[in-house]
Symmetry: C2
């Protein structure tokens, strides 16, 4: 099966399946049919079957899905069976909020280093990690196995910093800066443009909702 | 033209058009062809023409788009020609980060009230707005014309609070709580599930990137 051919929309639905299955598992549910899952998720049974079939046969005709297995399989697809080491660049309000978010750690996303250009906050601790100067990023990445960088810096600096991160061997960038980064194709960038998201909400309000 | 039939993917691209056109306008560019815009946005000219044609004829064959007009038209579609009044529910790290984000205000999204259940922070000011007890939300909404609520509270509380917001007349909810809200269809909900976003990034890393 060629996973690369899986549509983006399907991939973006996987974390939601994972969330619902985790809740079902915690509630002690062992099996669930696509119809029941569809009712719960306000989705359709055929979409659920189609989505999950793309990754192989998880369900058994007439028996439904084994909740725990499916939860674990989707977790593996999402790379949650491994630990990911992250650095956070930019320890302003948003950066600090993300660094303080314990749920990431629960899922195996561990923030190992925090960098900021503001000397006034160097040495300040956020959950056991000290904020370091930007200049230390290179040697830190050489000495630690870092997968993902979270970029919470102004857009004027983001492009340059992203270039450096690529040079130092980053694999993925979670970009909160309000700019499109230009990085090689093998680097995974996930943009989180919060103000654009708010504009979409505003569009829908304008439109009367749909 | 029936705006309701516009695909979600097109709507989600509007803020990005708006961003690029704003930058072109600030750079003093007056006209741009779909080919030039496509090169800049790493998109295709035909997608740009198709997207923009859905909202009426913005461009003139052979003359390209008038940057300032198109910028303003898209801004109007996104409801940015009006002021939106917001309340923020949950003044934890993420809530405070959002309340401090000045760019929202530049776009006409004004946070008028901030509510939190933690008495220790009641009265604390975030950019001229005092944090108030949750109990004050109802009368505040009765006395202020509030469009949008930002929900930055734990998922255990989000569903109940969303119900109340609907009762008090909210029109849109920007939901950062890691749960699906159940609200009437005429209420616009935009989910911002940050940890699911990080999982998508992790999926793509797992998959070698694409």
């Amino acid at each position: 099966m060629d996973e690369k051919s899986i549509p983006r929309a399907v991939i973006s639905r996987l974390p939601r399946y994972f969330r619902y299955l985790g809740e079902l598992k915690d509630d002690g549910v062992e099996r669930i049919s696509s119809n029941e899952l569809a009712a719960l998720m306000k989705s359709s049974a055929s979409q659920i079957r189609q989505d999950l079939n793309r990754f192989g046969g998880f369900g058994q005709q007439g028996y439904g899905y084994n909740v725990k297995n499916l939860y674990e399989e989707i977790g593996r697809l999402l790379g949650l069976d491994k630990k990911h080491h992250l650095i956070l660049i930019g320890a302003g309000n948003l950066g600090q909020a993300l660094a303080n978010y314990v749920n990431f750690e629960k899922r195996g996303f561990i923030i190992k280093g925090i960098f900021d250009k503001n000397p006034a906050i160097h040495g300040k601790m956020i959950r056991d990690v000290a904020i370091s100067p930007m200049e230390d990023m290179k040697s830190f990445m050489e000495n630690n196995d870092i997968d993902i960088a979270i970029l919470t810096i102004p857009k004027s600096e983001a492009i340059e910093v992203a270039k450096k991160l690529v040079e130092y061997g980053i694999r993925g960038i979670w970009n909160f800066a309000h700019v499109d980064l230009s990085v090689p194709e093998n680097i995974v960038v996930k943009n989180e443009h919060l103000s654009e998201s708010l504009m979409e909400l505003s569009y829908k309000l304008n439109d009367g909702g749909f």
